[in-house]
């Protein structure tokens, strides 16, 4: 009963810790590198970056540019998942925000106010989700499924309030936030970094993160310790809603139309994928913000390369599925261990 596989190196704590961190980051990075490498091979000019219309322009920029909304949603998702929860309603929140923006602009509100109202409405959604999960303690998937199903309907209703189907708007301010650029850098990236920084400070530089993780790890114990689990869960869904709300602003301003049925469709799946590729566990208890962004980049890189590759669209999903599986298999330490294990037994059997 000897299993070489079970023996792990004995290293003093700090260096082992560093090794661990490295370990967590290394696989997603590798995946990203591989994807880009493939792109480089199939389309030569893939990496070239030029300056067009006074801003950086090229596939790599596009990946960042397009990843921003998904990454935002994913950040919020990471926080919720940290509490052992999940938020399926992010897509609907995006839709609602888009509708509200268009509506208020048509109603002639000043655009800064529109922005406030839009984010406010997102936070309302967060309150609703939080209420279902924290107060009524309905299981998160179902609780957020409710807003997921009705949210886009609400968006459509808002559109109908003033007639138009998929009305469009023009707003220098909002479009500036989305498709504009400060210097060479797209504004949405700058803002994304700002939000990420704020969130990171909240999670890592206050005790909020620790409390979040303890609630995710064991609500009962958290309660005994005197943590107000409810409040924490509430906060988590509010944060998620805010991030989705901001993503909504970016996406809606991007096409400056309100298209509730299709805007941000399936963004919740990409967000969850990003969190998991970033090493987060749906069982809760841990929040990795930086890693989550990495996950989002992997996904967007994949999407962009599918689009540029010239592959017929009916192959999109299969390619996506295969790549995702590969990335996850790459990440799974257990697989490697299991393989060695199997190998060992095979050998043992042959010996007998």
């Amino acid at each position: 009963m000897k299993h070489s596989s079970d023996i792990r190196p004995h290293a003093p704590a700090p260096s082992r810790l560093r090794a661990l961190m490295a370990h967590r980051a290394v696989w997603p990075v590798l995946a990203l590198a591989l994807i880009l490498a493939v792109d480089g091979m199939i389309s030569p000019g893939f990496f070239q970056i030029r300056i067009v219309e006074g801003r950086l322009f090229g596939n790599l920029v596009d990946i960042l540019y397009r990843a921003a909304p998904t990454a935002l949603v994913a950040l919020g998702m990471a926080v919720v998942i940290g509490t052992k929860g999940i938020d399926l309603s992010v897509g609907s929140i995006v839709a609602i925000v888009g509708a509200v923006i268009t509506w208020r602009i048509h109603a002639g509100d000043p655009h800064w106010l529109v922005l406030v109202i839009a984010l406010g409405s997102a936070l309302l959604c967060g309150l609703w989700n939080g209420c279902l999960v924290a107060v009524l303690d309905i299981q998160p998937i179902i609780a957020t499924l409710i807003l997921m199903t009705s949210g886009r309907g609400i968006g459509l209703m808002i559109n109908l309030l003033y007639g138009g189907t998929n009305p469009s708007f023009t707003s220098p301010l909002l479009q500036g936030l989305s498709v504009g650029h400060v210097g060479l850098i797209p504004t949405r990236l700058v803002l994304f970094v700002a939000i990420f920084a704020a969130l990171w400070l909240l999670v890592r530089r206050t005790a909020f993160g620790l409390m979040l993780e303890s609630v995710g790890s064991s609500p009962a114990a958290a309660n005994i310790v005197g943590i107000n689990a409810r409040l924490i869960i509430y906060a988590a869904y509010l944060i998620s809603a805010f991030c989705s709300g901001w993503a909504g602003v970016v996406l809606a301003a991007d096409t400056h139309t309100s298209d509730p049925v299709s805007i941000g469709l399936n963004i919740e799946l990409d967000a969850i994928l990003a969190v998991v590729i970033g090493g987060g566990s749906l069982a809760g208890g841990r929040v990795y913000l930086g890693m989550t962004i990495l996950g989002a980049l992997v996904i967007q890189a994949l999407t962009t390369s599918i689009l540029t590759s010239g592959l017929p669209p009916e192959y999109n999903l299969v390619v996506k599925a295969v790549v995702v599986i590969c990335v996850l298999l790459l990440q799974s330490a257990n697989l490697r261990r299991a393989l060695t294990h199997a190998l060992y037994h095979a050998l043992a059997r042959t010996k007998r």
């Binding site: 322009f57 596009d62 189907t165 139309t257 298209d259 299709s262 669209p313």
Partner: protein, 283 residues
């Protein structure tokens, strides 16, 4: 009279307009319309039709999500003695199960777009295509129709084609990718989008990349929604095949007349879909 109408869903600009028109027209004509929106799901649509039968409505109008899978439920409608009419899409199988189809022709729309592009480009054009939702009937039909025409012209071919899911957002993303992939659409002369929403997205993407859609590129799409009218006026797009959305006035009379005198009707009453073009650019 009570009429059940099973609509596909809410996607894009055209469907909602169509639904709204059906409901408004019904009010005008004093018809009690039972409206059911299938959210793009075949199964929901079957549920709807079954429910209509259970409700014993006088007639059923279906805008099928998908062309297959109808025989069973149409049989049931027939047994219950409820006449069935089809709006837009056709259904496979026994044509005797429904009275008539009153609709435009996706395939024809594709053909019109193709024809216009052929003529505008003098039969010589590299095209990028923005497909609709993969597997959806309009996407498939419009593609077939379009290809049927351009296959007549050796110098016309589609060099890139991706799905933009019939959405502005999708169209924009795909076009952005195409722009990079083809090094600013080098050599491309035309863009064919399966609906206006995607085309509008594409136009945004091209402008943001400093290109001139409508001037340096021939932009043709389907639907002719209000936003596209503006784009045509502004010269950002060149042509759009109209898919009429205000067709309640075509459909209801047929149905009500049939209910009065069960006179046989032609199986397909085609609603003309005509092409609107801005002044074609000199090239």
């Amino acid at each position: 009279v009570t009429i059940g109408f099973s609509q596909v869903g809410d996607e894009g600009d055209w469907r909602p307009a169509f639904s709204k028109d059906m409901q408004d027209e019904a009010k005008k004509e004093g018809i009690d319309l039972k409206f059911a929106d299938a959210q793009g799901k075949e199964e929901d649509q079957l549920k709807a039709v079954r429910a209509f039968i259970a409700q014993k409505v006088d007639a059923i109008i279906i805008a099928p999500v998908v062309t297959t899978g109808w025989s069973q439920v149409l049989e049931e409608a027939k047994k219950a003695g409820i006449p069935v009419f089809l709006a837009d899409r056709d259904v496979e199988g026994d044509k005797s199960l429904f009275v008539a189809r009153i609709s435009a022709d996706f395939n024809l729309e594709g053909k019109l777009a193709g024809a216009w592009l052929a003529q505008a480009s003098k039969g010589n054009c590299k095209i990028v295509e923005l497909q609709g939702t993969v597997g959806s009937a309009p996407a498939i039909e419009r593609k077939k129709g379009f290809e049927a025409i351009i296959s007549q012209f050796p110098e016309m071919k589609i060099i890139k084609s991706q799905s933009g899911n019939f959405t502005t957002d999708g169209g924009k993303k795909v076009m952005e990718a195409f722009i990079k992939a083809t090094d600013n659409l080098k050599g491309v002369c035309g863009v064919f989008a399966h609906n206006d929403n995607m085309q509008l997205g594409a136009i945004q993407a091209m402008k943001e990349a400093g290109l001139k859609p409508g001037k340096d590129f021939l932009m043709v799409s389907v639907d002719y929604v209000p936003a596209m009218k503006e784009a045509l006026a502004a010269g950002d797009a060149n042509a759009s095949v109209e898919l009429r959305s205000a067709i309640g006035k075509y459909i209801y009379p047929v149905v009500t007349d049939y209910l009065k005198d069960k006179k046989e009707l032609p199986k397909w009453i085609v609603i003309p879909s005509d092409l609107h073009a801005s002044a074609t650019p000199g090239n």
